[in-house]
């Protein structure tokens, strides 16, 4: 009986079918989702490998349950929060364009079970174009000048996780100081006036304070300066307008003698960057003067520089510049200019044209010697000659056009060694002969005129008349030799210690006259009989040269270059100088109312 009863008993096991029906509201309206924070700011998102997306959404009185991130419809991750960040890695994606979706899930507000279990929600999609750039980001910096200010540019970090760029600048202690933070890929340094500068840019992303960094060096923007003389005889310093003019507070020009730092003083101060000219108020012709430009920037938070940055410098000689180099050897040339030369170049400068009209570069292969070590010019400067040691030839040229030069082998006359020659305006040259005495040779016709036997002295200073009809030999005495065809006759001979003969030369425009100056009187004598034709008092230290055509000469005395009248010795121009023209490297010559200095500058008398 028990066996029959047991199933009945167990069939009466406790059961319940009671159900709790919840009260919910299925008819709710969609939420209005607001973006509180989202670091995707453009329609296209650029990603270098991975990007951290930072977000924060609200949905009114509903709750944002989760945010999912999808690429090309495939979910890449979910954040169960209304805000935060998500690192989106694209390492397995192909490079190029993709669709990025951010799907926002909110509660519905119905209170249903499905909502409780996230099986019911409102969703809203936000989509962007995503460009995957697997090659990464290389920070490259450049600069430009705009509106007188330095602009630094760098390639934009395209990814949306950019937090900011930090700009650093190297200070005077060679340490980098932070000067700016920005989200733009540009920085304008309003305190940069052109000095040497080094900047560093650092790219800061949401999760990497040093995602990328690079350095950029700017070499100083040197202000080009020039020193010259204007038509009014004023010495002028010009400079180029500073490139970064809008960053400049003050421009200071300093001036001083190049070899005397104690003389440096502030010559000009201006706040106008358009001021680019300074008239030199203190200084003498031929002074080697230095000028410095310092630019004081506007005050900046970075580093103030009240003394300014030295950005311009020029050292030159006061005067009208005919060549930027110096220490030239000078010779007058045919009254319209002069010849100046150094080792490898002979230049012909025209005073009427104020420019170089001819130059000769004569360089011999494997020759280290100077081209122009023994240069002579004819009486008026019509011709010049130059012995070229390396090939032992004599270069002869008209000074009007140096390209017309000719080369002469005179070894059979002078032997392998050469000393000096005198050159006449008709092309006749007077040589020391290797056989003793002197030879006359016409370099225009390349013909030997004759040989004159005489004692020979290395210190002999000979002169030749412009037509070649006379020449002098000065050893322990001064002899005048007359040339007739190929015969020579001694006209006179005077005992004359050459140390006392401080200046003598033939009148280039009158071959029968010769000028003598022994220190106290400048005399014009006849070549025939040495009789004094005229005489003026001259007791200056040096007689530098005579400009016969303009009837004036240049002398020096006690810190003054004196241009005197050849008629009476009166001073026509007095030019104070700080140099002694007796030294070859300070030499001066007078040519056509112009004093030409070996330092590359000229002084116009008119």
């Amino acid at each position: 009986m028990f066996i029959f009863i047991l199933p009945v008993i167990m069939g009466c096991e406790y059961q319940t079918d009671e159900i709790y029906n919840r009260k919910v509201n299925p008819d709710v309206s969609p939420p209005d989702i607001q973006v509180i924070d989202l670091n995707i700011i453009s329609d296209t998102l650029y990603v270098y490998g991975s990007v951290t997306i930072r977000f924060k959404f609200t949905a009114g009185n509903l709750e944002v349950k989760k945010v999912s991130f999808l690429i090309d419809g495939e979910e890449k991750g979910v954040v169960f929060s209304d805000g935060g960040s998500f690192n989106l890695s694209l390492s397995n994606q192909r490079p190029g364009i993709h669709d990025l979706s951010v799907r926002i899930y909110t509660t519905t507000g119905s209170g249903s079970l499905a909502e409780e279990f996230d099986a019911e929600s409102y969703t809203e999609n936000r989509t962007w174009k995503l460009v995957y750039l697997p090659q990464g980001y290389n920070l490259e910096i450049s600069s430009s000048t705009e509106d007188g200010l330095l602009h630094l540019h760098w390639n934009r970090y395209l990814s949306s996780d950019l937090k900011e760029y930090i700009v650093y600048k190297r200070n005077s202690s060679f340490a980098y100081s932070e000067i700016y933070r920005t989200r733009l890929n540009e920085y304008i340094d309003s305190a940069y006036v052109g000095e040497d500068a080094e900047y560093a840019i650092k790219v800061v992303t949401d999760d990497n304070p040093e995602y990328a960094q690079n350095w950029f060096r700017i070499n100083s923007d040197v202000i080009q300066m020039s020193l010259n003389m204007n038509s009014s005889g004023q010495y002028i310093v010009n400079w180029t307008k500073p490139r970064y003019y809008n960053a400049i507070d003050t421009i200071i020009l300093w001036q001083g003698l190049a070899d005397n730092s104690n003389s440096v003083h502030r010559a000009m101060t201006t706040t106008n960057p358009n001021d680019t000219v300074f008239k030199v108020l203190s200084g003498k012709f031929g002074d080697k003067m230095s000028f410095y430009i310092r630019l004081v920037p506007h005050n900046s938070a970075f580093e103030n520089s009240p003394q300014g940055n030295l950005l311009g410098h020029i050292t030159g000689y006061l005067g009208f510049s005919y060549d930027k180099d110096e220490n030239w050897t000078l010779l007058p040339a045919d009254n319209d200019g002069f010849i100046y030369f150094d080792c490898f170049k002979i230049n012909r400068y025209s005073l009427s044209q104020l420019k170089l009209i001819s130059e000769l570069k004569y360089q011999i292969k494997n020759c280290s010697g100077c081209l122009s070590s023994a240069v002579s010019s004819s009486n008026t400067g019509k011709y010049l000659s130059n012995f070229v040691y390396c090939d032992e030839t004599l270069l002869f040229s008209n000074t009007e056009d140096l390209s017309t030069y000719s080369l002469h082998n005179i070894n059979n006359i002078t032997g392998p060694s050469y000393h000096s020659l005198s050159l006449a305006d008709n092309g006749t040259a007077l040589f020391h002969s290797s056989q003793g005495g002197y030879d006359l040779y016409n370099l225009v016709s390349s013909s030997r005129i004759g040989h004159y036997n005489s004692d020979y002295d290395y210190q002999t200073v000979q002169r030749i008349a412009p037509d070649g009809s006379y020449f002098t030999i000065c050893t322990d005495s001064l002899k005048m030799i007359k040339v007739s065809d190929s015969s020579f006759s001694e006209m006179w001979k005077i005992k004359y210690l050459k140390d006392y003969l401080r200046f003598y030369e033939f009148n280039p425009f009158n071959p029968d006259e010769i000028y003598f100056w022994e220190g106290s009187r400048l005399e014009v004598r006849s070549c025939n009989d040495l009789s004094v034709i005229s005489s003026i008092h001259l007791s200056d230290l040096y007689l530098l040269n005579i400009d016969y055509k303009n009837n004036e000469f240049l002398s020096y005395n006690s810190g003054h270059l004196l241009v005197r009248s050849l008629n009476d010795g009166s001073v026509k121009y007095d030019i104070p100088v700080n140099f002694d023209p007796h030294y070859w490297y300070f030499a001066c010559i007078l040519v056509n109312h112009t004093i030409v200095s070996a330092k590359g500058v000229m002084y116009f008398l008119q």
Partner: protein, 207 residues
């Protein structure tokens, strides 16, 4: 043959329900309520002393429920017990047709627990999990019984007692049921009143 109503303590299982109660709006619609028990037995009587064997089937259960348009959530724990034991009785009072007996029952209780978790959302069954666990306990039950012979061999009886579990064994299957909060084992707790009636047939005894 007897049957009656039993109350149950089920303290572990109730605590378990508390601890797993969902955070959303749900309700404990059934919490181990009193329920019928069934009790066949066979008893020998000698003078005032009686001795017998007895089987009892107990069951009760609980349900956490939530339901709306979007789905249904259920968490059921149906528990039953097959008890087998002996009964020792002592006749306290004898009337013409009536008997008052004090008895003590004891034996083992083999309990079964069926846990069912069910989740249906948007017309899809998301989860439906069932587990059957068992536990073996011992029990004793002091009781009073009054029987009245309505016929020479047939009597009706009233029965009242209190059931005690002995032991603290948790439900087990291939795992042991533990409380998620305190990690204690969760076992049956059939403790409670037993009030019932019986229909008895005397094989070899007559009034």
């Amino acid at each position: 043959m007897g049957s009656g109503m039993a109350t149950f303590t089920m303290s572990d299982l109730k605590e378990y329900n508390d601890d797993i109660f969902p955070e959303f709006d749900a309700k404990l619609v059934s919490d181990f309520p009193p329920f019928l028990y069934f009790q066949p037995r066979l008893k020998f009587t000698w003078l005032r002393f009686s001795f017998g064997v007895e089987y009892t089937y107990l069951s009760t259960g609980s349900r956490i429920s939530a339901k709306d348009y979007s789905g249904e959530y259920l968490f059921d724990m149906m528990v039953h017990s097959n008890n087998a034991g002996i009964v020792l009785g002592w006749e306290l009072m004898r009337q013409k047709k009536g008997r008052m007996i004090a008895a003590m029952k004891g034996g083992f209780a083999y309990s079964g627990l069926k846990i069912k978790y069910y989740l249906e959302l948007q017309n899809s069954v998301i989860s439906e999990i069932s587990n059957n666990l068992t536990a073996l306990l011992y029990f004793f039950e002091p009781c009073l019984e009054y029987s009245y012979f309505v016929l020479p061999k047939i009597s009706l009886s009233l029965h009242a007692g209190y059931y005690f579990d002995i032991g603290d064994k948790p439900f087990k299957t291939d795992f042991t049921l533990t409380n998620p909060e305190n990690r204690n084992g969760v076992g049956p707790d059939w403790k409670g009143f037993r009030i019932g009636v019986g229909l008895n047939y005397a094989i070899n005894q007559r009034l």
